[in-house]
């Protein structure tokens, strides 16, 4: 273009100025309220409960309990992020967790050793991912429906293998140590969770595959026409969520030392809540690993604090549900006002 540079520059400036936020929002940005609001809320919760029930809440044991109890949910949720980033739901993760628990316990109850049990559990997780990929990409079933069906099948399988009873015989103490031993006075699963978080953060933020996942989630047609192998990447995403859920299942079995008829389903909805609540944090507007972790520990802290303060058991569901709706609604408002500006 033959436009004089001097005449164009001010217009570029003024356009950039158009994106500058009003004063109120600028302060919010400086404080990181748009990205780190969860951390602030978390800090406030800790402060409130420390003052309210100092004798029980403000103890190292309590923090240890919160960390340990949430490690499984956190791992399941982080695995779920991968397909959700690519715009696919995986509702079979709960069923996969349960099936993995059941497999690893069954191997020990039948004297095949826990090592083989772990390997078969993880392989089973991959198999579930592969079948999910087939259902979604080849049979062209919507992921929500396809994995819902898969979930139901997995729960049925678990009930069949366990015969509907609690199975707890023949569990090796070496196996339960994987889930129950402590390091630096923190339960081992907390460390598994941290390692998994690092791996998935790297995968999503620092590899080409991460870019492909988010772009498929953003616009699958454009992704395809940018030369991305959409079906292959989506199948890969299901493989990740499947194997991570199976891994979480193995650790859960080690924590429990037994398998019930449906040990996994309880993890499905909290994982989804955490993923969507996490999408309002750190990298607003997209599901991400750190945001998901913040969401989980924020919710767990709130629930635990309320329980210690004497709230009844049903407070867990009440608090989690309300927090999810409020946080996502606030994020949607913030996003809409950002778009307008």
């Amino acid at each position: 273009m033959t436009v004089n540079k001097q005449t164009t520059e001010p217009s570029v400036e003024s356009k950039a100025a158009g994106h500058r936020a009003p004063a109120g929002r600028r302060i919010a940005v400086v404080l990181g309220l748009d990205r780190f609001s969860g951390l602030y809320v978390w800090a406030i919760l800790i402060l409130i409960f420390s003052l309210w029930v100092p004798s029980t809440f403000d103890t190292a044991t309590n923090f240890r309990i919160i960390a340990g109890s949430q490690a499984i949910t956190a791992m399941v949720a982080m695995g779920l992020i991968v397909p959700v980033a690519a715009g696919a739901y995986d509702l079979s993760i709960g069923g996969t967790v349960g099936m993995a628990v059941c497999i690893v316990v069954w191997f020990q109850a039948n004297h095949h050793g826990y090592g083989l049990g772990i390997v078969v559990s993880l392989a089973f997780g991959l198999l579930v991912g592969l079948v999910n990929g087939f259902i979604v990409n080849v049979l062209n079933v919507d992921s929500f429906i396809g994995t819902l069906g898969m979930s139901s099948i997995l729960i049925a399988l678990t009930t069949w293998v366990t015969g509907g009873f609690q199975v707890a015989n023949g569990i090796s103490p070496h196996f339960t140590a994987i889930g129950q031993r402590q390091l630096l006075s923190l339960p081992l699963p907390v460390f598994y969770m941290v390692v998994l978080a690092l791996i998935l953060w790297w995968l999503l933020e620092y590899t080409p595959v991460g870019r492909y996942l988010y772009s498929i989630g953003g616009n699958p047609q454009a992704a395809k026409l940018a030369g991305i192998r959409v079906a292959r990447i989506k199948t890969g995403a299901f493989l990740v969520s499947g194997v991570v859920a199976a891994f979480a299942g193995v650790i859960l079995a080690a924590q429990l030392g037994s398998s019930g008829p449906d040990p996994g389903s309880a993890y499905l909805l909290p994982a989804f809540s955490a993923v969507f609540l996490g999408a309002t944090q750190i990298l607003p507007g997209r599901v991400n690993v750190l945001g998901c972790l913040i969401a989980i520990f924020l919710l767990a802290t709130g629930v635990k604090g309320l329980q210690l303060a004497g709230a009844p058991g049903y407070i867990t569901g009440l608090f989690n549900g309300a927090a999810l709706i409020i946080a996502v609604a606030l994020a949607a408002r913030a996003y809409a006002s950002h778009r307008k500006a």
């Binding site: 273009m1 100025a17 080409p208 991460g210 870019r211 047609q221 026409l225």
Partner: protein
């Protein structure tokens, strides 16, 4: 006589500079007014204010002397304003009858909807526009031109109050010339019945062919409203961009014959039937045709977005079908039509949008290096003069023309052997359009074989060494050298063999 529509001192900003700065205009009943300006000049903002989507910061509007309550869609509707928006606003999974009913309701409803009557009414409304298609097909399955007709039929469907002003926002963006002409005939008929018509267009031949008067917006300010008579296209372009546009000599554009890069033989698709074509290194070949000629199938079939028969070769190597990744690896790039649906990642950064093709270039030591990636992207934003020039802005922050440049940058960065452009300047303002044309010229000068599919025949004349005409799925004619003329091309697409007489 009271004007049909008066707009007084209308202003609007979105928290930054004014995107509409005290605009004043008035349209008489029966007048056809063109509203022109570059992308981001405030046309769409003005229309959206009138439609009640945006609340203006200041100003007022009147329809036949009655004050319009701004910011309320129902109020515009009640005073007789009718709109066909840029995206048409159709519900894809509903059929024609239901789409028309979205605004007008079901007039046959008396305890139950009489579907046969409704379908008859819908068919009649479409027939008036010169269209005849199955009114039970979902809108999403219709061709672009049929969708446009449906949106116009909906705007003109009888309501509680009669239509007073019809506002069309780029109604011809997706229409080839012959079909645009049918729309114009309708617009004239509407105007003859006393309704004021205002339409937005980037095609200046339409402004001269249809409008009696033209209003020019630039940077949110109303530059001028004047009769079209006595104006030349160059005058208008200067008013729109505020500077002179340089002309490129295209008549003598002849590529030196170099080696064949892209070789297509027996290409077949839904409509396409046994199409052969060659593109040489450094050559720009155009493809023209009306909707239904198979024109819109060429680019996706070639790149692998849709299924095809026949063979495509790059430098002698066969490109497998349905494998965009292979096509890309073999050196083909595609700028697809309909940017928002097929190319843009709207919430992603410009960086993410450009490096989505082979981000791995910046992959070192197991990590995607964002520093070198930013530098890479900045280089391309500079080269294509994308504004604002910030790799971390999202695609949604950009105007249509700049978004299209970003998509182009995505592929130019790959230095493709073959570049396929499908409607490369659809919905792009004149300034950006001329920039894009230059970039395509540059790519060809460096030896890229370029295939341009376009409904904009002036664009084809401007860009191409040769233009192929598709009729009913086959190549019916070829233009080059002195025969290159957009009127002749238009004539050839609708099947008159005028070209032979020249």
């Amino acid at each position: 006589m009271t004007p049909a529509l008066t707009v007084t001192n209308m202003s609007k900003s979105f928290g930054g500079p004014l995107v509409l700065d005290s605009a004043n205009l008035s349209i008489e009943p029966g007048e056809i007014r063109a509203l022109v300006g570059e992308n981001g000049s405030g046309k769409s903002t003005l229309i959206k204010i009138l439609a009640g989507f945006h609340v203006p910061d200041g100003g007022s509007a009147e329809v036949h002397g009655q004050a319009l309550h701004l910011g309320h869609g129902e109020a515009s509707e009640a005073l007789g304003l009718r709109f066909v928006h840029q995206d048409l606003g159709l519900v894809n999974n509903l059929d024609a009858v239901d789409n028309i009913a979205l605004g007008a309701g079901y007039p046959s409803f008396r305890g139950g909807i009489r579907w046969r009557q409704e379908r008859k009414r819908t068919r009649a409304a479409l027939a008036e526009l010169g269209y005849d298609f199955d009114v039970r097909r979902p809108a999403g399955d219709l061709a672009m031109s049929e969708r446009t007709a449906l949106a116009v039929a909906r705007a003109m469907a009888p309501r509680a109050t009669p239509a007073k002003v019809l506002i069309l926002d780029e109604p011809t963006a997706n229409l080839p010339a012959a079909e645009a002409e049918r729309l114009f005939r309708l617009a004239r008929r509407v105007a003859d019945s006393g309704v004021a018509v205002m339409f937005v267009s980037h095609h200046f031949d339409e402004v001269f062919g249809l409008a009696q008067s033209v209003t020019v917006l630039r940077d949110g300010k109303l530059v001028i409203t004047r009769p079209v008579a006595g104006m030349t296209e160059d005058n208008l372009i200067e008013l729109v961009i505020g500077r002179q546009l340089e002309h490129v000599e295209h008549d003598a554009k002849a590529a030196e014959k170099r080696e064949v890069v892209l070789q297509i033989s027996g290409l077949g698709c839904d409509v396409l039937n046994n199409v052969d074509l060659l593109v040489h290194a450094g050559e720009i070949v155009g493809v023209a045709g009306i909707t239904g000629s198979g024109r819109d199938e060429v680019a996706p079939a070639l790149f692998g977005g849709t299924d095809r028969t026949g063979e495509a070769k790059i430098n002698g190597a066969v490109v497998p079908k349905l494998r965009p990744d292979r096509a890309m690896a073999m050196g083909m790039g595609l700028v697809p039509a309909q940017r928002l649906a097929n190319a843009a990642f709207i919430t992603e950064t410009l960086r993410g949008n450009i490096t989505i093709v082979r981000p791995g270039i910046h992959w070192r030591g197991g990590i995607l290096r964002k520093g070198p990636e930013r530098a890479d992207v900045r280089k391309w934003l500079d080269r294509l003069d994308v504004r604002p020039r910030n790799s971390e802005f999202t695609m949604a922050d950009l105007s249509g023309g700049n978004q299209q440049k970003v998509v182009l940058a995505r592929w130019l960065r790959m230095e493709p052997k073959v570049l396929v452009l499908d409607e490369p300047t659809q919905g792009v303002d004149v300034g950006a359009k001329s920039d894009i044309h230059k970039l395509v010229d540059e790519a060809a000068a460096q030896g890229t074989a370029v295939l341009v599919v376009s409904t904009d025949h002036e664009e084809l004349v401007r860009l191409c060494h040769r233009v192929l005409i598709l009729r009913r799925g086959r190549i019916a004619d070829e233009f080059s050298g002195a025969r290159m003329d957009h009127d002749l091309i238009t004539a050839a697409t609708i099947g008159r063999d005028q070209a032979a007489a020249v």
